[in-house]
Structures are given as C-alpha cells and as structure tokens.
C-alpha cells in the first residue's frame, strides 16, 4: 500500500507538467477574463433560475395592463416587464411622443438602437435581441470593472469581489432584462477606465456612447474633465494653490487636443436632443415626458421629503407600507452616505458621478432609485475594498444573493420593483 502511495505521489508532478503542457496556457494571465466570466454565469444562473421558477410557481399579477411579450416562450418572456415594453416599441416602431402621456422619448436611444440592429441577427425577435445585447454588455462591463478595480487597487482579489458584488446586487436582475442598465454600465465603465489610463480619445468615444444611453450619462463629461485635470496636477484639495491653476492653464495650452476630445462627450446627448427637436419640436422631450410618470421638477430635496413624510405615516407593524419608497430611500441614503468615502478613496470624479447619479433623478422623484444605484460602480469598488473583512464580505454576499432572488421573483410577477 505504501509503495503504491509513494508511486502515486512521485507521479503527480509529472502529471501536473503534462496537464500544463496540454493546456499550454498560463491561466493567470487570463484571469481578467475568466473571473468575470465565472461571475457572469453564476449570477445569471441565479437570475434566470429564480425568474423561471417565480413565473411558473408563484401567482403573479394578471390583467389587461400586464402584457406578455413572448407568451409562447417563458424563458424570454420573463425578462420583458414594465419599461421593457417601451424599449421593444422603440426598437420596432421608432420613438413616439404625446405630451402628457407616457411616451417612449423618455428612454434614451443607444439600447433600443442596438436592439434594433441585433434584431435581424436573431430572427427579428426583439425581446431576444434585447436580452442578447444586455448580456453581452453586462459581461463586457464586468471585464471593465475588473480591470478598473485592479488598476485602482492593484489587487486581483478586490477586483474579484467588486464584480461579484455588482453581479449579485439585489437589482442586478436588470442586467438580464430588456432594460438599458447593462449598456449604460458598460460604456460608463469603459469611459472611466480609459480616462484613468489617460487614453482621452477612447474615453471620449465611450463617453459619447454613455451620454446617449441615459440622461446621467452626460455627467461623464464632468467626470472625465476632472480626471484630465487631476492628471495635470489639479485636484480639489489644491484649489487654493496658485500653482495648481498655473499648471492647469499650462496644461490647457499643451494638451488642448485631449481637452477638445473630452468636450465631445455631450454630443451623444446633443444628438438625441437634435433628433427630438427635428421629430417632435421639443429638444428636451425626454424630460417633458417625465410628468406622465408622476415625476416633475421637485428640487433636490422635495421628492425626498415627500417620500420620507409618506413613510412616517405608515404602520410598519401591520405591513401596510410603501415598501418601494422604503427601498428607494434606503438606496438613496446609502449612496449619499458612501459618497464621502468614494471621494476619499477614488477622488472627486468618482464621487461626483456617485452623488449626481442619484441626486439628478431624485430631483423628480425617488422612484426606481434601487435600480439607479445599480450602475454606480464606485460603490461596488469601495465595498470590494472593505470586503477584505471576511464578515462583511460574507454578509454582503449572503444578503445580496437572497435579495436578488426575491427581487427577481417580484419583477417577474409584474409587481413594480424599480
């Protein structure tokens, strides 16, 4: 017996060598691809498995207003709910705008445009096209987040935690749905990644796409400008120093080309506004249309106070509460609480995006805040950094996964989540 064991142990190194030669690949160099791939598949299994089970096992809302885009194929149908209808309609029939009514102009064009283009490749099934676009974009976003986090921290473990936190965040189901979240996240991450790498041209290109995918995308103009200023030694902490300003003016003269490229970022939004003006005579129709969703310009704190007041008058003991508002306010205040830490760890540009990423939509209402929080990637990078603490890491992983399953079931059964 001992001889057998000895022979086996002796043979193991040889076996390892043979395997390595068979593989012929240094897998460590591909970690930036493989880890996101694993996070992608694991998280999507949770979402798709939970969604399907929730659809077939739980009673959901039924009625005229609860439409089904692909009733003959539940696997596709479960990912098309609520706003998905607008994206499908835009991709199929183009935009429409009727003042006072819920109009599709409220939804930015990049995602439905990609759906429209992908449609012919998948048999003109726009739901499938939307799901394919969402998943491809989500996977690439994970890759960018991994690289960006690795760039910030120089630590693959932190990068790994960041992409897992993002992939299993309670509202991460929207990365699989016919929603714009994954496309926006991809281009916003790419913009920041290239900006951090001082590749201003590519950052500008990605920024243009970002500003065409959601209204807050235009914030990346400011984000990249701040990054450019920081690369030339100007930071908010040195704002009182004359040398910082002198250096900045010198940089403008010497690196004007880069600054010019960065200033192209809003052109994605401007293109959409020009389109709206030409088609409907209202360049800000995407904002005008918000009133039909019960949103309006309430100021930076009006909506927050309104929803807070709503919560104060409810009976939590009996469960007679506006749970959506509760979740949204938790998301809002969590983000606001984390923003100073983001500032301290990553600088003003990330903090600006994190803050405005919730405050801009909050000006018209706190609805869907838990979905808007989903794309604020600096938060996930920060949590990943803190996740070195194993207790926090396990808590987040457990809580996020459970809530992801729950939220998926809610979404699939036509209960409005975000």
């Amino acid at each position: 017996m001992n001889r057998v064991m000895h022979n086996l142990r002796a043979g193991l190194p040889a076996l390892d060598l043979r395997l390595a030669s068979i593989r012929g690949v240094d897998w460590a160099t591909w970690k930036w691809l493989l880890v996101p791939l694993a996070a992608f598949f694991i998280s999507r299994m949770v979402v798709w498995g939970g969604a399907y089970l929730a659809e077939v096992a739980l009673p959901g809302n039924t009625g005229t207003e609860y439409w089904h885009a692909v009733p003959e194929n539940l696997f596709l149908d479960i990912m098309a709910r609520w706003d998905s209808g607008f994206y499908i309609n835009i991709a199929r029939d183009g935009y429409n705008f009727t003042p006072g009514q819920m109009s599709s102009v409220a939804f930015f064009p990049l995602y439905p445009m990609l759906m429209n283009m992908a449609g012919p490749l998948v048999g003109n099934n726009l739901v499938l096209a939307g799901i394919v676009v969402s998943h491809i974009a989500f996977f690439l976003a994970l890759v960018f987040l991994y690289r960006l986090t690795e760039l910030e921290f120089g630590d693959a473990r932190t990068a790994e935690r960041a992409i897992y936190y993002l992939a299993i965040f309670p509202t991460a189901l929207f990365f699989s749905a016919v929603y714009t979240e994954s496309v926006f996240l991809l281009f916003s991450l790419a913009t920041v990644y290239f900006a951090r790498r001082r590749m201003w041209g590519w950052a500008a290109i990605m920024g243009i796409m970002t500003s065409a995918s959601r209204i807050v995308g235009v914030l990346f103009w400011a984000v990249v400008v701040l990054e450019w200023m920081r690369s030339h030694g100007w930071t908010l902490s040195q704002i009182h120093r004359k040398s910082a300003w002198v250096g900045l003016f010198r940089a403008v003269r010497q690196d004007f080309g880069s600054l010019f490229l960065i200033c192209l970022i809003p052109l994605g939004l401007i293109s959409y506004m020009a389109f709206l003006y030409i088609q409907f005579g209202d360049p800000i129709a995407f904002w005008t249309a918000q009133s039909a969703w019960g949103r309006g310009s309430l100021g930076p704190f009006g909506a927050i106070f309104r929803d807070l007041n709503k919560l104060m008058t409810q009976n939590f003991a009996t469960g007679d509460i506006w749970w959506n508002s509760l979740l949204n306010l938790i998301a809002l205040f969590s983000t606001l609480a984390l923003a100073p830490f983001v500032w301290r760890r990553f600088g003003a540009s990330f903090a600006l995006f994190t803050l405005l990423g919730v405050l801009v939509p909050a000006m018209s209402g706190t609805g869907s805040m838990i979905r808007y929080m989903l794309v604020l990637f600096p938060i996930f990078m920060l949590l990943a950094h803190w996740g070195r603490n194993r207790l926090l890491d396990r808590t987040l992983m457990t809580a996020f996964t459970v809530l992801l399953g729950l939220f998926t079931a809610i979404f699939v059964n036509w209960i409005f989540l975000a």
């Binding site: 005229t64 990049l110 445009m113 041209g201 590519w202 500008a204 243009i208 080309g257 020009a274």
Partner: protein, 615 residues
C-alpha cells in the same frame, strides 16, 4: 482590449495622428452611428398611419408588405389573402391602420375555411403582434356544425367567449361566409351573409387594429374592408360582389324607465361601530371612520362589504373617494351578503383609466359586460349611480351616463361596496325606489320611430302622431321604419277607411333587407277590419298565409294592433284580444315596416319596446 487599441495605430508614426486624428475620426464614427441609428432606425415610423378609412382590399395586387404578422405564412394568391401554414397553431395579421377609441366603423371580409380549421376577423386589437387584448369573431366546427364565436382575448391565450351561435353549415363541409362587424360606442354587432346574428355585444377594448387570424390550419380571406358607416364609396361597392347593405342603425337598448315617486329605502349614517351599522364585511379591512365607511387594506382584489337587507328595483347612489390606489366601486344584485359570487360589480379599473362592469358567477368567476374610459379619479369624491330596474341596469358616474340597458338576473338582491388594490372611503350610500317594482317596457313615441322611415311603395303622409298611406289602388303599400330588431313588442293603432270594405293595414317585420319584403313576415287587418291574417313572403316575394282570425272591427275606428316578437315565435293582439300565439319564426331578426292595403289607412301611436316579453 487595450492591447488591441495600442496595436491599431502602431503603423502610424505621427503622434498627432495617433493621439488626436484617429480618436476624432472614431468619435465622428460614433456620432455617425448614433445619428444614423436615430434618424434611420428609431425615427417614428407611424406604423398605423399609411392607411386611411375607408380601406378596401380585394387582394388583387401585392399589398400586405407592411402589415403586422404574428405567426403563420401569409401570402396573396389568386386574388385572395392566404395563411398557408397548415401546422400554425395560431397566426394573425393586422392592417397598419389604427382606429381611435371614438371611431364608429364597420369591418368585413370573406372567409373561406376547410373543416378542421378556424379563422377569425379580429378588431380593436391593442397589440399587432400579440394574441391578447383584442376582440374577434371566429368560425370553427363544434358538434358537427360550423359555429360563430364572438369574444375577446383578455390575456395571452385567455379567450373569453361572449356569444356562440351555431350555423346551419355542416362541419364536414368547407365554410365560405361574408362576415361584417359594426363597431360603435355601445358595442358591436355581427352580420354573417347579410344577416345580423348578434348585436349590442359589449366592447372590452376600444380602438386599435383590424386583422385576421387563424388557428389549427390554413385559411383564405378576400375583400377586406374597413369603413365608417355612410362612407361606403363606389369603390367599396365595386370591390365587393355582394353589395354592402347599409349598416343597421344602432339598436339602442331600452332606456331605463325614470323612477317616479322616489322613496328612500336606505340612507347611510356612518357613525358608531361597524357591527351595528347593518353592513357585513366579507373581504378586506372595513371600518367606520370620520363619517365614512372605509376599506383600509391596500392589497387584494374585489374586497367587499354588503348591506344586510336585500332590495328590488332601486337606485343605488354611492359617493366615495380613493385614499390610495384606484379600484373602488359597488356590488349589487348579490345573492348573499357574505359573498361576491353571483353579484354584479361596477368599479374603477386598477389603473384608474375607466370604469368596468360585469357579473360574478356562482363560483366567483367574473365575466365583463362593458367598460368606459373615464378620468383618473384621483382623491376626489365621485358619485356612482346604479339604476336597477328589475331586468336591466344603468350606470352613471358623476351624473354622466356610462351604460344603459345592461341585462341582469331579476331578483331581490343585496347591495355592497367593493375595493381593489386601493383604500376607499365611502361617504354616502343611499337606496331609493319608485315603489312600483318592475317597470313596464320602455317605449318610443312615433316621432322617434319614424325618424328614419322610408316609403318603399305608396304615398305616406306624416301628421301629428300619425302617418297615412293615401293611395287607394288594390295593392300592398309599404313603409320601412328603418329599424332592425330581434326581440321586441310593437304596438300601433290602425284606422281603416270607413268607405272601403276591402282595405287593410298592419305590420311587416323580419325583413332581411330594409327595402325588400322577400323573406319577411306580415300581420295585417283585411276586408275593412273583418279579419286579421298573418304569414310570410317567400323568396319570390309571394305571400304564404300561416293563419287568420275574425275580428269584426268597425271601419273608421282606430284599433290597437300589437305584435310581440320573441327569439323564435311571435304573438299578435288586436285590441285586447290575443288572436295568435307562438307562431313560429324562421328568422330571428329583421327590418320593421308598416303595410297598408288600399287607403287611406292611418297608423297612429306607434310604440316599440326592444325588451319584448314574448317567449
């Protein structure tokens, strides 16, 4: 990716090109991508705009390229539209023509089906590529006969039948029919081969698309038309071998009788404890609060409370406001105070877009009868009136009539309040009655009935409350009153001339066409009022008697002639005498007219009840 990006410009030596020109070029490409995509792919395509009413298609030329298809294999062959995929479980195709919710229109087509297949004319479709939220008139085989099924898809695959009418065509033979649907605000009517089979069917979806659908196999369609009544053009007529009959006037259901001598049966006083109020909750969280009866549970559908006593023939008035959500309304005609089963319900839709009404069966399954769009109720108080007149009911919201003549099971029933997905405060509930119980049949006066009258033969002169035929030749003269009906009671005073012993006058009814007596029935006085006879015109226009009776009236004296038409028989009364009962009818509807033999014959006090009581 960064490796790729770095290697791309490697062959370019110039730093400017690599750092600026190339990125600017790529940025321009990105902008071109966005703008070409926006203007080329996402510009509003107005898919419903290309076609206007009237729309006529005989499928002689390729024309369905931009139609909305959902399943099946649709093509134009031999001047017809064909769905050729034999194994297509469901297939549909819709015209790129969007009808507004206010459009009154007619759509018609010819369907050709083989046994074992089913096909439908779909209308008011809300989604061009979904099998849901649309009405349709379908033809399929059941129990060895072709049958027509009217109904609507509430959700995916959730078809709800509103009427099933067997046809005479054996199910083992192909079916070739012309089907027409008249859509109006009151509902829709269906004609098959120019015969009205059903009308006043409630609409659950208003406006939308017209299309065709098949299930279980292939089918062919021809001469598809959509037009507004009265807008039929020469082109339309030419396109259809069988000339379009003028659409029938909307057969208005009998208006609810006004209640007189109102007596208050119940008036709410929401004070004190709920248990002592006489109200019995059976679902939800009900309480009396600040002078209102409040349903406080946010989640849940058709939560209800009922009053402890039943009522019969009443006006139920409820004033209520939504505290959160939308979905408040009333229940009535309830079989018991502790269940919604068997009750009629009228309430706001959950999204506040309108009011709908219908009834629960004994198992609690709800069948809708109608819907009316209204403004979102918000948190304002609204008054809902239900006028229950025994066999039908009417609905008013804030004084505006939403529906009349909705049929219900006559009974003494309980009344209740209901809320769905909402918190509702009911501030006032009152019940009044006229004390007369079942109102008599609603009747229209002569002026209304003769508004669309048309002289077919003879010379008809109108005077106050009467119409006279003045020609004296020995032949029948006809006046079409321009009304098509199925079941009704028609009463008219007929006065024959005192100086002509062979004059006569009466009623012609169930005419297949408003201007053609072939196939019609007639009941008229003859021989100066000595006899009354009844019979039917055959397809050649020759009269075939069915029966006769002596009445011996006094010429020159008006006598009431009453015709009560049921679904398959009719009764005839002269004065108070019932001279014919249960005479079989081979048709179930048709146009109505007056007939005189010689003249001068005077018809006075013409009255029509569309709630005929004959069996």
């Amino acid at each position: 990716m960064t490796v790729l990006i770095r290697t791309l410009p490697r062959s370019i030596d110039s730093k400017w090109v690599r750092q600026y020109i190339l990125p600017i070029g790529l940025a321009l490409l990105a902008l071109a991508f966005i703008n070409l995509g926006l203007h080329g792919r996402l510009a509003p395509r107005q898919p419903f705009a290309p076609y206007q009413l009237p729309y006529i298609n005989d499928f002689a030329a390729a024309s369905i390229g931009n139609w909305f298809r959902f399943g099946g294999n649709w093509s134009e062959n031999d001047g017809m539209l064909q769905q050729g995929q034999a194994d297509a479980a469901t297939a549909s195709i819709f015209l790129p023509l969007w009808l507004s919710t206010n459009d009154v229109y007619q759509t018609q087509t010819r369907l050709m089906l083989e046994p074992g297949t089913a096909a439908a004319l779909a209308f008011n479709g809300q989604y061009p590529r979904l099998t849901q939220n649309r009405h349709q008139v379908q033809f399929s085989v059941q129990d060895g006969l072709w049958q027509m099924i009217c109904g609507y898809f509430q959700g995916p695959g959730d078809f709800r039948s509103q009427a099933v009418i067997p046809l005479t065509q054996p199910g083992d033979q192909p079916l070739d029919v012309q089907v027409a649907v008249n859509v109006s605000a009151a509902g829709y009517a269906v004609r098959v081969n120019e015969q009205t089979l059903i009308k006043d069917v409630p609409l659950f979806f208003k406006g939308g698309l017209v299309g065709l659908a098949t299930s279980g196999g292939s089918a062919r369609f021809d001469d598809l038309q959509v037009f507004k009544p009265g807008e039929v053009t020469n082109q339309a007529t030419a396109a259809t071998p069988t000339a379009l009959a003028a659409p029938p006037p909307e057969a208005t259901p009998a208006p609810a009788a006004d209640l007189v001598n109102e007596t208050s049966l119940y008036s709410s006083a929401f004070t004190g404890a709920l248990a002592e109020s006489g109200w019995i909750p059976f679902a939800g969280d009900w309480a009396i609060d600040n002078g209102s009866l409040v349903q406080r549970q946010v989640e849940g559908y058709d939560l209800g409370i009922a009053y402890q006593e039943p009522f019969e023939a009443y006006q139920l008035t409820t004033r209520f406001r939504h505290l959160s959500g939308v979905g408040g309304g009333v229940l009535f005609n309830m079989t018991s105070p502790d269940s919604k089963n068997g009750a009629v319900m009228v309430r706001y839709t959950d999204d506040g877009s309108g009011i709908f009404w219908g009834s629960f069966d004994e198992q609690g399954a709800f069948t809708g009868q109608g819907y009316a769009a209204t403004e979102n109720p918000g948190t304002n108080a609204h008054t809902l009136d239900i006028l229950h007149n025994g066999s039908s009911y009417s609905i008013k919201l804030d004084g505006n009539e939403l529906a009349t003549g909705m049929p219900l099971v006559p009974r003494a029933g309980y009344i209740g309040l209901t809320a769905s997905q909402s918190q509702v405060a009911y501030e006032e509930v009152s019940i009044k009655t006229a004390g007369t119980g079942e109102p008599g049949p609603a009747v229209s006066n002569e002026t209304d009935l003769l508004a669309n009258a048309q002289s077919l033969t003879g010379e008809w002169q109108y005077q106050d409350n009467s119409v006279q035929q003045v020609l004296t030749e020995s032949t029948d003269y006809m006046l079409g009153i321009g009304i098509l009906a199925e079941r009704y009671a028609l009463k008219v005073d007929v006065m024959l001339p005192a100086d002509l012993t062979d004059a006569g006058g009466g009623i012609i009814f169930h005419m297949p066409n408003r201007d053609d007596r072939r196939g019609a029935y007639m009941a008229r006085l003859a021989e100066g009022g000595k006899v009354v006879f009844w019979g039917r015109y055959n397809d050649n226009g020759d009269f075939e008697g069915i029966g006769a009776a002596e009445v011996n009236l006094v010429p020159g004296t008006p006598v009431p002639l009453t015709l009560i038409v049921g679904s398959s028989t009719f009764d005839l009364l002269v004065g108070e005498a019932n001279v014919a009962t249960g005479i079989p009818l081979e048709r179930d509807s048709g146009w109505i007219g007056l007939v005189s033999y010689r003249g001068v014959v005077t018809f006075r006090s013409l009255a029509l009840s569309l709630n005929g009581t004959a069996s």
